[in-house]
């Protein structure tokens, strides 16, 4: 369990794309993500990320370059800024669950193994998992049996309640 008395959250790589203000991202979501980042910088939240987070962020930047949304130099600059910041501020966790158990969970929850890592972390720590990945959020939303996991949509930051209608 996460340390008592501290506000922990889990952030996925989709938030990093909003922090980098990659062209084409929704301005409303960027605003909310920047609000979250400011709160992190102010020490209101402690961030936990799984060990593969940096790799996911790098891959997202690579995709943005391939899609011509960013120039290579811009992507490298943003990537360095975000990874350095994360390295100093975030807590990188190795998966406490063993591999086969994680695969079983991914199957049971009908999510990819990458997403299962985040959800597993949320289950183990009790921290709120913030995402800008609409596909993952809707997948989680459609599974009321998974609503015991704290998953929140960045568009609603700082509200963590489950909406009547998904975004």
């Amino acid at each position: 369990m996460a340390e008592q008395g501290m506000n922990w959250l889990i952030a996925d790589a989709s938030l990093a794309m909003l922090w980098a203000k990659v062209p084409g991202e929704n301005p409303l979501l960027i605003r909310r993500a920047l609000q979250l980042l400011r709160d992190i910088q102010a020490g209101r939240w402690q961030v936990i990320v799984p060990f593969h987070w940096s790799l996911e962020v790098s891959n997202a930047f690579r995709s943005s370059v391939a899609a011509r949304r960013l120039m290579v130099s811009q992507a490298q600059k943003s990537e360095n800024t975000i990874l350095r910041f994360a390295h100093k501020q975030f807590l990188f966790l190795q998966p406490p669950t063993d591999w086969s158990e994680l695969v079983r969970r991914a199957d049971a929850w009908s999510v990819s193994l990458y997403d299962a890592l985040y959800l597993d972390l949320a289950a183990r720590t009790g921290a709120v998992f913030w995402t800008a990945d609409i596909r993952l959020y809707r997948q989680w939303y459609q599974r009321p049996d998974l609503h015991w996991l704290s998953v929140a949509w960045i568009g609603y930051y700082p509200q963590t309640g489950i909406p009547l209608v998904p975004p």
């Binding site: 922090w19 203000k21 940096s54 360095n80 350095r84 100093k88 990188f92 190795q94």
Partner: protein, 86 residues
């Protein structure tokens, strides 16, 4: 009973329109070009505000100096620990 407030100026009726079978006066039409201009202006202001905010957080993030190599080494160690645990 409260006194009825007197209008300083009567609204100018520019036309009429029919709502639920009744003809009602219309005091002004929307000008599409003016509305679009106003909307664009508001959008530009919002974009500028967002840009300012973003510059602030990037400045804060840039305070974290260090080598990216350290991050990669940490990643490698984390990956090595994957199969070692449990």
């Amino acid at each position: 009973m409260a006194e009825k407030r007197k209008r300083s100026r009567k609204p100018k009726v520019v036309g009429t329109m029919v709502v639920d079978g009744k003809e009602i006066p219309v005091i002004g039409w929307l000008e599409p070009e003016k509305t679009r201009r106003k909307w664009r202006e508001m959008q530009r202001e919002e974009d500028k505000a967002l840009e300012r905010e973003w510059r602030k957080v990037v400045k804060m993030m840039n305070k974290a100096k260090g080598s990216l190599l350290e991050v990669l080494i940490q990643q490698r160690n984390a990956l090595r620990g994957w199969s070692g645990e449990e």
